[in-house]
């Protein structure tokens, strides 16, 4: 790597517009390795679009996303995943017809080509890793169940587990505690704190208690631009932020 700065993720001048509407407008921010960064902002600020741009779901019209020195904007979705970026969607996105075990197994990073998948064998390494992740996400007793039988919170955990099994260097979570009960929320915060070590995390969240609980730094988005950035205390005290977001 010849990158002078050791940022894990460097987003620079990123823009995208849909039918003339600039959803993300000349956005720049940087994430360190092992940093937990939370993105907050009012509805329509472009939070989810930023994650979509990083993981390749939406193509940027300008700007760059460099991850470990690699330009991501030119890669396809699966190549971005293989480069080490994991993405959790807002609504639980799991395979309802498959068992919890199979959900995790599909996410296990081996045999990702067509013929690799045909030749894939469920060996001890796979089983052990699946069990390890399952116990982390409180689902070990449910391994044989079909995923459709899980509660909403458990589905969210399962999707987090499906990302963890890939061992990504950057994990992107879109509202991981939305729709969860109070006790599930507490458990999720505990889960995230445990698994978020040794990797960078980019989280979108509205729940301010949860944000304060986990964030190292906070980026406030407004109309596709960075409104404010820094520690939670700093951001909370920023009058611009109070005006457009927190004050309401």
């Amino acid at each position: 790597m010849t990158e002078p700065a050791d940022f894990l993720l460097a987003v620079e001048g990123l823009s995208v517009s849909f039918d003339g509407f600039k959803a993300v407008d000349d956005l720049s921010f940087y994430v360190d390795a092992n940093e937990i960064r939370v993105i907050i902002g009012p509805n329509g600020a472009g939070k989810t679009t930023v994650l979509d741009l990083i993981c390749g779901r939406t193509r940027a019209s300008a700007g760059s996303v460099r991850f470990r020195g690699r330009e991501l904007t030119r890669l396809k979705e699966h190549q971005i995943v293989q480069a080490g970026v994991g993405r959790k969607f807002q609504t639980p996105s799991i395979y309802e017809e498959l068992t919890v075990f199979e959900n995790l197994e599909i996410s296990f990073p081996r045999g990702r080509s067509v013929f690799g998948a045909l030749a894939f064998r469920r060996d001890e390494a796979v089983r052990e890793r699946v069990r390890e992740i399952a116990s982390l996400i409180f689902l070990e007793p449910m391994l044989g169940e079909r995923a459709e039988a899980l509660s909403h919170g458990q589905k969210q955990w399962l999707e987090i587990g499906m990302l963890l099994i890939q061992d990504p260097a950057l994990l992107m979570l879109d509202e991981p505690v939305a729709g969860m009960s109070v006790s599930e929320r507490r458990k999720t915060a505990e889960l995230l704190r445990r698994v978020l070590r040794d990797r960078a995390v980019l989280v979108i969240e509205h729940d301010m208690g949860f944000v304060e609980d986990i964030a190292h730094r906070v980026t406030v988005l407004h109309q596709g631009r960075v409104l404010s950035e820094g520690s939670m205390q700093h951001v909370k005290a920023d009058p611009k932020v109070v005006e457009v977001y927190l004050g309401h």
Binding site: V81, E97, T99, E105, R112, A117, L118, F120, L143, Q166
Partner: protein, 380 residues
């Protein structure tokens, strides 16, 4: 937690089907009826492919007749060349070429016919030519993320185009009549009752081999990825898989299976014509699989046999009613039992049987994964 390629249930299912088509039917039916069943079985190859591509991966092709036809034409070209020896065609102005070419003023064998002098080449071409076309279509469609209804319409358009092409290029293809008057395979007369019996068993054996192969694909991680893709394509993509490659693969496999079916059809029926390539036969093939159950390999095979048996029976007694009956059947499948006969058996009959049967103690000690595996056996 052992991953079993074959559960006991699968094995019993395959063996029952094998016993039916290789023992029961040959004993119960006269040669004429058995030859008809042999014809139905060739549609079974297509049904297997449709279960993989449509039932599992959610790719509905309304053009499987294309691949069935291509496989059939490959075989027909070989047989036609064998039947067109200079001695047998000496009254033609150009002896040694197929009769329809001579009628269309062709004076030499076209270049793409020449390799079909070789049986080895023909046998390779039967699955590979359809798979190659499927690969090109798949590459063009799936890499651009064309799917669902659009894909179905495009396959239908290709079926129409291919039919028009075959009919239009009479001198090269035999036109609307197709390739007829096929006689021998390496000197062995395929028109006798005995030959038809032998071909029936070859066809049945091949079908079972393909069934087992399809089962193996479904039991692999690739099979689970297909299901996952149908449900959450994005999630699969964001788990690091190139979704288009998996679609192309399964579409090619379905095409190759259809091609094998087409070749066995040509051998048993003795000709191949564009009437098996176009839109109507392609949709019929989908109906066979849908009635049996698009999520069950065995269901689709039984469905194919049943619908065709009904078609023959109706056509003999009430030919004008058959189209209506088929339409009604398709609507019934879509509206009333979307998983076909297999779904009906699984949802209605299986719970009934389970209630009748006393609880066996050893069943309760099975590990969760094993229970899951057997559940899947039912579901599939």
């Amino acid at each position: 937690m052992t991953e079993s390629t074959f559960s006991r249930k699968d094995l019993i299912g395959v063996l029952t089907f094998a016993a039916l088509i290789l023992v029961v039917l040959p004993m119960a039916l006269d040669p004429f009826r058995l030859n008809l069943v042999g014809k139905y079985l060739t549609y079974g190859f297509v049904a297997l492919g449709l279960v993989l591509s449509w039932g599992d991966a959610g790719i509905l092709s309304l053009g499987q007749g294309i691949f069935f036809g291509l496989g059939g034409y490959c075989m027909a070209m070989f047989l036609k060349l064998e039947a067109s020896t200079p001695a047998a065609t000496k009254i033609q102005s150009t002896p040694g070429i197929p009769d329809f070419m001579d009628w269309n003023q062709l004076t030499a064998l076209p270049w793409f016919w020449r390799p079909f002098h070789s049986l080895a080449f023909t046998i390779a071409a039967v699955p590979l030519v359809p798979a190659l076309l499927a690969f090109v279509i798949g590459l063009a469609m799936f890499k651009r993320r064309v799917g669902g209804t659009y894909f179905a319409i495009i396959t239908q358009a290709i079926a129409a185009i291919l039919t028009i092409l075959i009919i239009g290029q009479q001198g090269y293809t035999g036109g609307v009549n197709g390739i007829t008057d096929l006689r021998t395979l390496l000197g062995w007369d395929i028109r006798t009752d005995h030959a038809k019996l032998v071909l029936y068993f070859i066809s049945g054996g091949l079908l079972i081999a393909c069934l087992v192969a399809a089962q193996t694909v479904r039991r692999s991680k690739l099979g689970r990825i297909l299901l996952a893709m149908r449900e959450r394509e994005d999630r699969v993509r964001f788990s690091g898989y190139d979704v288009a490659n998996f679609k192309i693969f399964v579409f090619c496999v379905a095409a190759a299976l259809a091609g094998i079916g087409g070749a066995m059809f040509t051998l048993q029926v003795g000709f191949m014509s564009p009437s098996f390539v176009g839109i109507v036969p392609s949709i019929e093939l989908v109906i066979f699989a849908a009635v049996g159950g698009r999520s069950s390999l065995l269901g689709a095979l039984y469905g194919t046999l049943l619908v065709n048996w009904a078609k023959t029976t109706f056509s003999e007694d009430l030919p004008q009613l058959w189209l209506l009956a088929m339409g009604a059947m398709f609507i019934a499948v879509v509206v009333l039992f979307p998983n076909g006969l297999a779904g009906l058996v699984q949802d209605r009959l299986a719970p009934l049987l389970a209630r009748l049967r006393p609880q066996r103690p050893e069943l309760q000690q099975v590990a969760p994964a094993a229970v899951d595996a057997s559940n899947q056996g039912v579901a599939r």
